[in-house]
Symmetry: C2
Subunit: 185 residues, 2 copies
DNA sequence: TAGTGTGTAGACAGATCTGTCTACTCCAAT
DNA sequence: ATTGGAGTAGACAGATCTGTCTACACACTA
């Protein structure tokens, strides 16, 4: 999976530069760890421009989470479609974990960091619900479909966390593949 | 599971009051979201006392993570010992998720929030490694033991994240129990 | 008694944070 | 030509943050 978002932002309009920079820094370094002066410097805009497009830092955080959700979910659905059955999930995770900028799930990270922000918690909940739905849609119809989607989602989140904390993907992927294999067998 | 750490701190020595307050606030609200003036006010100590015991906020964060690890792991091992087989894991999670102060895993939250702090990332990695080991130790000897421990750990982390983001435990527990049942079957 | 350790009160400093504002320029549309 | 939108430069303000410091009191031990 290529970086989300694009890293060459110079030709973008100011708003997109800000959002791309925010996306990169918020995801890599944390929401509160990223100050607006740094966002402004790296976006190549001025403060007036920054605040013209995003009235507050929280607005930018929300825009970042929306963009993240949209881009990630598009990628996820496409990745799941490349192979039949639950093994597609492991393949998708392998691809994601291998990307240079992988640092876990932005929504898990955000919810852990800013539990007092309803917008962040809502975004996280909705993101995960849609991830489960995407997984479910690729499963064969039948009485165990919903349960299988729940279990696969649990496995995926466990693997995401494992890969993030390990700082590398091998053990997470091995465990995920074993688990998916058990569930598919 | 009763709250970690104790909530009635008035009779404790100053250092323990600081650490207990830090534990509560860091876990509930986040590391950076908790400022030292608040810690000081709620600990009932002065600034000199605070800094006499913890030379910096980062030192306090580390002490918090160490205490958290120690208390949680003691509880986890005891909880796993109450029942034979992988179902003990689901029981332990049920107990934890039901506690009033449950807000996910302090180590996942910390790693998501402060990836640039090696001490936080190390603590998270070690915590999860010891959790996997605790799970493994309760499994029967055999060729698939290590793999099973890996899969159960993945399931546990997935359930932890799910319960945290949902803000309630039902779906997480149902999914975990299904998954554990599949693995044990 | 003297020394040490631990506690109190809270003022202070500098850094960093988020957000507000003035003044100006350029471009496109009317 | 005029207007509006979007961009520039960067100063400024107040709040919040982490950490430093003076002065003093009390308890315990040798």
């Amino acid at each position: 999976m290529k970086s989300i978002p694009p890293t060459d932002i110079a030709a973008l309009p100011a708003r997109d530069r800000i959002l791309a920079t925010a996306h990169r820094l918020f995801y890599q370094e944390g929401l509160r760890a990223t100050g607006i002066d740094r966002l402004i410097a790296e976006s190549g805009v001025t403060k007036v421009t920054f605040y013209r497009h995003f009235p507050s830092k929280n607005d930018l955080i929300q825009a970042y989470l929306e963009q993240r959700h949209s881009l990630w979910m598009d990628w996820f659905k496409a990745a799941l479609a490349r192979r039949d059955g639950p093994a597609a999930l492991a393949d998708a995770m392998r691809e994601w974990f291998a990307s240079d900028d992988f640092r876990g799930c932005a929504f898990i990270n955000g919810a852990g960091e800013m539990p007092a922000e309803p917008a962040v918690m809502d975004a996280a909940r909705r993101h995960k619900a849609e991830m489960r739905q995407a997984i479910a849609e690729r499963l064969p119809e039948g009485p165990g479909k919903a349960e299988m989607a729940e279990m696969l989602s649990l496995a995926a989140d466990g693997a995401i966390v494992r890969a993030q904390l390990d700082g590398q993907a091998d053990a997470a992927l091995a465990a995920l593949e074993s688990l998916v294999g058990k569930l598919a067998g």
